[in-house]
Symmetry: C2
Subunit: 214 residues, 2 copies
DNA sequence: AGCCTAATTCAACGTCCGTTGAAAGGCAAA
DNA sequence: TTTGCCTTTCAACGGACGTTGAATTAGGCT
């Protein structure tokens, strides 16, 4: 019966994730979420303290797993390079390809989550606080790895280049349909192969060009 | 007296821009906007048809001027290169530096607008439609210019690289405070010189690396 | 002065919001 | 079968929402 409780809790989180990703925190009502989840409104407040608490729970649910997968990808790179230094390409790929893997394994689950992260990252209201809270340890580890791959580059260069990466990455995984419109159908937001072929290489080239010994 | 009408209309638009930029469309009420503007609620519906119409008006007000400034910057580049082809660096700079100029000339005016654009660009709800409506002619002209600077590159490569540029650019100008937190104060969201030194070069390097003759 | 129109205020409409307390249902241990 | 706890439903609260129609003010024209 604790398992029955957890089942509905997950149903509520799924519904909330889907709707928050599409319309943002304020654009969704608790009643809409519970209608989507097929449960009574009051049940939301039995399982969560408030609408804001539910929002945080949606974010937290997948953050740990996603961070684990990316840490593991960087572990593998460092395992391969115990004596020499990995290239930035390898490091950036360890940062991005886990996202593509998650999406390949379970598209419906992760698409909404990535869209939500993109909105949060670009919101003055949430961006500073929430991204820091959920992702900073992982991001710092990646930046440290890049620093070793591009020795003597300045901290400011590294942080700014990561910021550009962050913007490109979150927009790309948000799948807003923008590139589909702009390109008149030549490109497809959800074409993960197309992204994998270009995004890591694009970003790595940018890092290489900016982060040089001074 | 038509001028008096236009004054308050601009006051309403200013208040709406500021609040929409911070909290998004759904996160703001018409009453909040009119309190900020120092006017009666009903006046919003005298000057605009609906909350959504006011939102569109906020976007439209600066879009034309911003597009003009960027078109002029590209005109200048093409004027300089009537015989030879400009470099991608020059073209990307013509795309980004107008934003820095606007921000330098009138920071309070443009900061909120850029933050709003960033949220829209990353929203599945608005991103596809609104960005297309307001910015596609300009963007297509820039992509055409880049195509001439990097001959024989594929359309897909060009559109994807522009997409990465778009994500990096909008997040950077959103000034969410994220990079300030991540870097423990080493970097400053609002340091436009730091951005100008790095963003165009970073992006140009990415284009160069991806968009090659096939 | 009086008039016409544009600009602004006032008061309210029906609806939906986030949230809650109390009651009902369901399952396990006794 | 009863007891007790966990889960779910029901009904409602005060307040705020987007929006509107009618009344009021203010300014330029005759």
């Amino acid at each position: 019966m604790a398992s029955r409780s957890n089942e509905t809790k997950q149903r509520i989180l799924n519904a909330a994730e889907k709707l928050f990703a599409r319309e943002g925190f304020a654009g969704v009502t608790v009643r809409q979420i519970m209608r989507e989840a097929g449960a009574d409104v009051a049940l939301a407040y039995y399982h969560f303290d408030s609408k804001r608490d539910l929002f945080d729970a949606v974010l937290m649910r997948r953050a740990d797993y996603m961070n684990d997968v990316r840490h593991a990808a960087l572990d593998a790179v460092e395992q391969r390079h115990q004596d020499d230094a990995p290239t930035i390409e390898e490091i950036i790929e360890a940062f991005t390809t886990p996202l593509l893997q998650l999406l390949a394994e379970d598209p419906d689950t992760w698409r909404d989550y990535f869209a939500l992260i993109a909105q949060i990252n670009n919101s003055p209201q949430w961006g500073g606080e929430l991204m820091t809270r959920f992702f900073d340890p992982l991001v710092r580890r990646f930046i440290d790895a890049i620093r070793r791959a591009l020795p003597d580059s300045s901290d400011a260069d590294l942080f700014w280049c990561y910021h550009f990466l962050s913007g490109a990455l979150t927009l790309t995984f948000a799948e807003t349909g923008r590139i589909d419109n702009l390109s008149n159908g030549v490109c497809d937001s959800s074409d993960m192969d197309a992204i994998n072929e270009r995004l890591p290489a694009f970003i790595a080239a940018g890092f290489r060009h900016i982060c040089k010994p001074q």
